[in-house]
């Protein structure tokens, strides 16, 4: 019950595309695949591909809510954890620990 409430209360903060792109690249460090419209990132755990994410472009506009929600799912995070990843408290090590528990 508490978990459900926590999920319902977690809020998606409208980060800019640039902020998200920068943090994904620097903190998660996926293998980048260049695309025509978006770059994609392959995320590895123990040399196994566990996720593929669409990396936002470097615009200074906020990423739309739908795009951000799907990106959060692709990263296997909850909204709160994603906020923490972008705002900095969530470290690379902590992210990969969370990922390990979820794949």
């Amino acid at each position: 019950m508490l978990i459900v409430l926590k999920k319902l209360m977690s809020k998606i903060i409208p980060f800019t595309e640039k902020e998200i792109r920068t943090k994904i690249k620097s903190k998660i460090g996926p293998e980048i695949k260049r695309g025509t419209k978006h770059d994609k990132g392959l995320i590895y755990l123990d040399e196994i591909v566990v996720a593929k994410v669409k990396i936002p472009n470097g615009h200074s506009t906020p990423l739309s809510r739908d795009n951000q929600r799907h990106l959060i799912q692709s990263l296997k995070l909850e909204a709160e954890e994603f906020n923490s990843l972008i705002k900095c408290p969530l470290s690379k090590k902590e992210y990969y620990q969370l990922l390990k528990e979820r794949v």
Binding site: K33, G35, T36, K37, K40, L42, L45, E47, I48, V49, V50, A51, K52, K54, S64, D66, N67, H70, Q73, S74, V103
Partner: protein, 157 residues
């Protein structure tokens, strides 16, 4: 609220939906404005959000969902052997589409734009995952690979 399924045979059947229709003058003529609204669409839709009937007789909704069948990759080098269902969310000035089983999504200001992006992503993911050995893929990517290899055929090298 009526939920109608949409199963067009090809994407060529898709007709644009004019979101302005979400603001229709009610004027007390219709006993069931929600049904009238749904019936006014060329394509059957699944409305989401709430209907708001305003005092001046306008009713509005937040967004609508439409399901489209994608059965072409629009690329001479690849054939799509399976039809994928795109769940489309339509909001004023914005379309958002997803192919849930493959974790693919795209957004844009036109329907064509997101269909093109999803077609591109299907090929991109096929080319990415089909060459990776199964033992180098986690559960979800391995599942995507199986779906993609079963659904797409490369006809020209």
């Amino acid at each position: 609220m009526t939920l109608q399924e949409f199963e067009p045979s090809t994407t060529e059947n898709i007709e644009p939906i004019i979101f302005d229709k979400s603001q229709c003058y009610y004027q007390g003529r219709y006993p069931n404005p929600e049904k009238e609204y749904i019936d006014s669409f060329v394509l059957p839709v699944k409305p989401t959000g709430k209907f708001f009937v305003l005092p001046e007789g306008i009713f509005n909704i937040e967004s609508i969902h439409v399901y489209l069948n994608l059965n072409s990759l629009n690329n001479e080098n690849f054939i799509l052997k399976k039809t994928f269902k795109i769940k489309l969310k339509i909001e004023p000035g914005n379309y958002f589409g997803e192919i849930k089983e493959l974790g693919l999504y795209a957004s844009g200001s036109t329907l064509e734009e997101i269909i093109e992006e999803l077609q591109y992503d299907l090929i991109d993911n096929y080319e990415c995952f089909s060459v990776l050995p199964d033992n180098e893929l986690g559960t979800e990517p391995l599942n995507w690979k199986k779906i993609l290899v079963d659904s797409i055929e490369k006809v020209n090298e």
